[in-house]
């Protein structure tokens, strides 16, 4: 077994299910999440880039999951995207005991537009800063702040106040104000 095969084996066995749950945050559908993770794994491990550490490989795969998710969303028919907003398949429920809060948050996430959803996941799961999210999505810092501001507002309208979501670096600076 080559090095990359060992890393792949270890990554899939130890973190495969977590990667699927991460992808499902974005897709809202567990089976689509599984497909997304498999595509990301194939893309990452086919590149010839040395992936010798499962931890580093996981971060790399999560990045590919996000890229493929946003790319595929652009190509999708509108009805497919809307379908996710209207209904949540029973199959998407977690295999383990899921709290009501978790399901509420995941359901609320699905009402966000994909780019907003991606920003929320990068911010609150991947713990990235605004500039890091901007680089990851190839958009400006200001756009990231706007996306997060809009996303949090929409989530709060569904979930109630989200105290931890209001951090200093995503406060919007008014533009066009003269002193």
């Amino acid at each position: 077994m080559t090095t990359w095969e060992q890393v792949l084996d270890e990554l899939v066995r130890a973190r495969g299910r977590a990667l699927v749950r991460y992808a499902t945050l974005l897709t809202g559908d567990e089976r689509e999440g599984e497909d997304l993770v498999q595509d990301a794994l194939v893309r990452c491990f086919s590149q010839g880039r040395p992936l010798r550490d499962p931890g580093a490989a996981e971060a790399y795969v999560r990045q590919a999951i996000l890229t493929i998710f946003l790319d595929s969303y652009r190509r999708r028919a509108r009805w497919t995207a809307v379908r996710h907003l209207l209904a949540r398949d029973d199959d998407t429920a977690d295999h383990g005991p899921a709290s009501t809060t978790r399901l509420d948050v995941q359901t609320a996430l699905l009402t966000l537009r994909p780019r907003l959803r991606a920003c929320v996941v990068l911010r609150f799961y991947d713990d990235l800063t605004v500039p890091e999210i901007a680089r990851r999505l190839a958009i400006s810092d200001g756009t990231v702040k706007r996306y997060l501001f809009d996303a949090i507002g929409q989530l709060e309208s569904l979930l109630g106040p989200l105290p931890d979501a209001h951090t200093i670096d995503i406060q919007l600076v008014p533009t066009g104000v003269t002193r």
């Binding site: 084996d9 809060t101 929320v120 989200l162 931890d164």
Partner: protein, 402 residues
């Protein structure tokens, strides 16, 4: 209580069962194949760039064919990877057969006949084949297919009539329909009615499903080395019948990569050589096999060299072979280039398309439809199968600024 977004998302991802969601062996095979093909393309470009004359076994990354193919295993179940094809009983005459496809269509003199065994499926430079599967259609399956067609057509007609009635009774926005809108609704109903009549009376019928559970098996020296066990998507199950509804025909899809056996995930492109293709199918009390049909696989030659200055050699991946001509379009090459490369393989044009982008969807025709172009690094690339004046098969590129 207000949810903590950060903690909830971490819980959602990081807590829960850690069972592996995938078959790692299958995933490894998929990755190995892609890595090998990429290495092959890169190797071809690199060697071509320095003017080397020959590059052996591009597709297998220099490994010996014998080390790539699954070794025969006496304990393998009949019809599975590494098994002896002779373990499956051969029926004569067979109830299934294969025809080579060309442009996604096919031809046979007797439309209701099962193709004879022993014919040639062609020579391929790519590692994907899509012959036509021809098989018997039982009266039961035929009747079920007709019933399904009629049921579906009845549903379409009912929907068209309902749409027409509801629009006439309650026009959108309360605005009366124009004469043209009413005529369009009438046409919709009429077309649905014609489709229903066609479903009830047509000689040729279409359907999905394969009552014989056919499976394409590729063998080398009598050992199964590849199969279409897990094609995705699987077009075998969409078929068209002969006018007398006794046989049906549909395109198959088989990646010519080694199958998984005994801990080996497979996924290696089959090396160049002669292969025998069989079709295994369900027979009373078990499975039988029809075949063989012959198949020749060739290695892709190195990418040609000697392109003029300004040619986008790093932007547009070309197929390997002998450079027949390269001509600037519009005089200077600023607008684009026309390139002709001689290369063996019935599927050379299809393979040329695949080399433009490994992620491009594989399609069954041996060449892309005329007029289709593919965007590559700021260029629009057209590809066609052609023949040189001395009869040599070629691939013709039309490369234009995007």
């Amino acid at each position: 209580m207000s949810p903590d977004l950060t903690r909830t998302l971490h819980d959602a991802v990081d807590t829960g069962p850690d069972d592996s969601p995938f078959d790692v062996l299958t995933l490894t095979g998929r990755i190995r194949r892609r890595r090998t093909v990429r290495a092959g393309v890169r190797g071809g470009v690199a060697v071509g760039a320095v003017g080397a004359v020959a590059l052996g076994a591009v597709y297998v990354g220099g490994r010996q064919p014998s080390s790539v193919l699954p070794a025969a295993r006496a304990d393998a179940e009949p019809g599975t990877c590494a098994s002896d094809i002779g373990l499956l009983p051969a029926a004569d005459p067979g109830r299934v057969g294969l025809l080579p496809s060309t442009d996604g269509s096919w031809y046979q003199d007797e439309p209701s006949a099962i193709p004879p065994q022993g014919t040639d499926l062609g020579t391929l430079v790519g590692r994907f084949m899509s012959p036509v599967l021809v098989r018997e259609l039982s009266p039961g399956a035929r009747d079920a297919a007709v019933a399904e067609l009629v049921r579906s057509a009845n549903e379409s007609l009912a929907a068209a009539e309902e749409r027409r009635s509801s629009r006439l009774a309650a026009p959108p926005g309360g605005v009366p329909l124009t004469a043209g809108e009413v005529a369009a609704l009438d046409r919709g109903v009429e077309v649905a009615r014609q489709q229903l009549e066609l479903a009830q009376t047509s000689e040729t019928i279409t359907g999905v499903g394969d009552e014989l559970d056919s499976q394409v098996l590729v063998t080398h020296d009598g050992t199964v080395v590849a199969s279409d066990a897990d094609p995705s998507p699987d077009p075998r199950y969409s078929w068209t019948s002969s006018p007398d509804r006794s046989v049906v025909m549909g395109l198959t899809s088989t990646e010519l990569i080694t199958c998984a056996s005994d801990g080996d995930p497979g996924g290696e492109p089959l090396p160049a050589g002669e292969y025998a293709v069989y079709v295994s199918y369900a027979e009373a009390g078990g499975r039988a096999v029809a075949g063989p049909w012959s198949l020749t696989l060739v290695d892709m030659p190195p990418v040609p060299t000697g392109f003029p200055g300004g040619f986008p050699v790093d932007d547009v991946p070309l197929i390997g072979g002998r450079l027949v001509s390269v001509t600037p379009a519009g005089g200077s090459g600023g607008e684009g280039w026309d390139v002709v490369i001689a290369v063996e393989g019935d599927d050379a044009a299809r393979e040329a398309v695949r080399l433009l982008d490994d992620d491009r969807t594989t399609y069954p025709a041996l060449a892309p439809p005329p007029g289709m172009t593919f965007p590559v690094a700021g260029w629009e690339v057209g590809i066609a199968a052609s023949t040189s004046p001395d009869g040599e098969p070629t691939v013709a590129y039309s490369i234009r600024r995007g």
